[in-house]
């Protein structure tokens, strides 16, 4: 047998799941899609004493459009995001990014909440949440709280979630286009093979007016540090000016300067730093021309 022994619970009610996590604390792991936890358990890199399978818990999945934004349940499969007409229409950025997560067999199981809670620095969903100013809801038997996406990642595979907390949903505020300006987006990532984790990825969101002058800019990078990162310097360099080739090159240079990636067997730090600028520039080009 591959995984070490554990006690298995498959609660159907949310309170029951929260009770189990509260009772077992650090000894317990929630099991969502299993696409990160199960590999670690098979390799015995993770050996939780208690597994709380949340796949049968009612009310944790679904995509809902509300007045102020879209709410996505933690157990919503990555594949359901990809297939959702609502997501394609309201957040085409997400629809474009999600097919880059692994392979379809993995997206069939992998969940939105699992990707956030696992917090791989090269993962797409945490970077999307950061770019889209998402609010993440965490529940425990102590109550419920909301965590801004910017405060959620605390470094490599570490998040603001406490061991007794269950991530229950993510809320994405609408990108409001007023009469004078419109949100445009670009998404780029580079990897060796289709479906691999990104070596470097860039998300650009620009609110542009009729003359292509930038009113608001967000640039989120992933794969280049301990977690996804916004690049405020590059964002500030774009606001108030036309996003022409010069502006894009300048912002891209600032991105490259700002990131501090590490080296691993997949790519060197120098490569990642250089390519960060290239990905950011191309994402900005896509945003302007898209």
């Amino acid at each position: 047998m591959k995984p070490a022994k554990f006690d298995y619970y498959a609660p159907v009610a949310r309170d029951e799941a929260l009770g189990l996590l509260g009772q077992h604390g650090y000894d317990a792991k929630a099991l969502a899609g299993g696409q990160s936890l199960m590999p670690m358990m098979n390799l015995r890199l993770a050996r939780p004493a208690v597994v709380v399978d949340i796949n049968r818990v009612a009310g944790l999945s679904g995509i809902d459009s509300g007045e102020s934004g879209m709410t996505i349940g933690a157990m919503t499969r990555q594949r359901d995001l990809e297939r959702s007409a609502e997501v394609r229409e309201r957040f085409p950025l997400i629809a474009a990014a999600v097919p880059h997560i692994a392979h379809f067999q993995i997206r069939n199981r992998g969940t939105v909440g699992g990707s956030l809670a696992h917090s791989d620095p090269a993962a797409e969903i945490p970077a999307l949440c950061l770019a889209l100013d998402a609010e993440i809801t965490a529940a425990s038997s102590r109550g419920e709280r909301t965590i801004a996406a910017g405060d959620f990642s605390l470094g490599l595979l570490t998040t603001a979630l406490e061991p007794d907390e269950l991530l229950t949903e993510v809320r994405l505020p609408w990108l409001d286009s007023d009469g004078e300006s419109q949100w445009r987006w670009g998404f780029r990532e580079v990897c060796r093979r289709d479906g691999d984790f990104a070596l470097v990825g860039a998300i650009a969101l620009l609110r542009l007016d009729g003359d292509n002058v930038c009113r608001e800019a967000r640039i989120a990078m992933f794969g280049v540090g301990d977690g996804p990162a916004r690049i405020p310097g590059a964002e500030a360099a774009l606001v108030g000016r036309a996003v022409d080739a010069d502006a894009r090159a300048e912002a891209a240079g600032l991105v490259s300067q700002a990131v501090d990636p590490g080296s691993d067997i997949h790519a060197s730090a120098e490569y990642r730093k250089e390519v960060s600028g290239v990905m950011a520039r191309r994402a900005l080009e896509d945003a302007v021309s898209g």
């Binding site: 591959k2 298995y8 590999p39 358990m41 098979n42 379809f104 067999q105 199981r109």
Partner: protein, 155 residues
């Protein structure tokens, strides 16, 4: 420690049951308890695709599911493709195009291709390439696999 857990599931139209440890993966349950050894295990951490089966209609890695999670589910494995001695058209196309050599990867490719062609009949070459991106073959160089899937067209 917890007692064994009782599970039931439908595999290729037949009912099966078992009493398993929580830590038994679905792939090991199929292979070692149900003797359905067509499902192969390569990496056991989600990378190679050899263990791909359909659970409630969707292609998934059976090495990354626990057997207890499949309680009540409907499964299809590579053994469910052929009709007696008659190969499924997808299997026949693999044979005709030499889409296998050692055959280790084949069950995973067949189940992946089955889901692919069901959801998107007559895919383009690049759609097939994308679709089989999560399955590794160390023998064929992929070209014959792509030909076989395109030739089959629909399932």
């Amino acid at each position: 420690m917890m007692p064994l857990i009782e599970i039931r599931m439908t595999v290729n139209g037949r009912e099966y049951g078992g009493r398993v440890e929580s830590r038994l993966t679905l792939a090991d349950f199929l292979r070692n308890e149900l003797n359905l050894t067509g499902t192969h295990l390569g990496c056991e951490h989600g990378v190679c695709g050899a263990c791909t089966i359909l659970v409630d209609g969707e292609a998934v890695r059976s090495c990354l599911l626990l057997a207890v999670q499949a309680d009540g589910a409907t499964l299809m494995t590579v053994e469910g493709l052929a009709d007696g001695d008659e190969l499924h058209p997808l299997q026949a196309a693999f044979q005709e195009n030499h889409a296998l050599q050692c055959g280790f990867c084949t069950p995973g490719f067949l189940m992946t291709a089955y889901a692919l062609l069901r959801d998107n009949p007559n895919p383009s070459e690049s759609e097939v390439r994308q679709g089989i991106g999560g399955n590794i073959c160390r023998c064929t160089g992929y070209a014959p696999i792509i030909r076989a899937i395109q030739q089959t067209g629909t399932v």
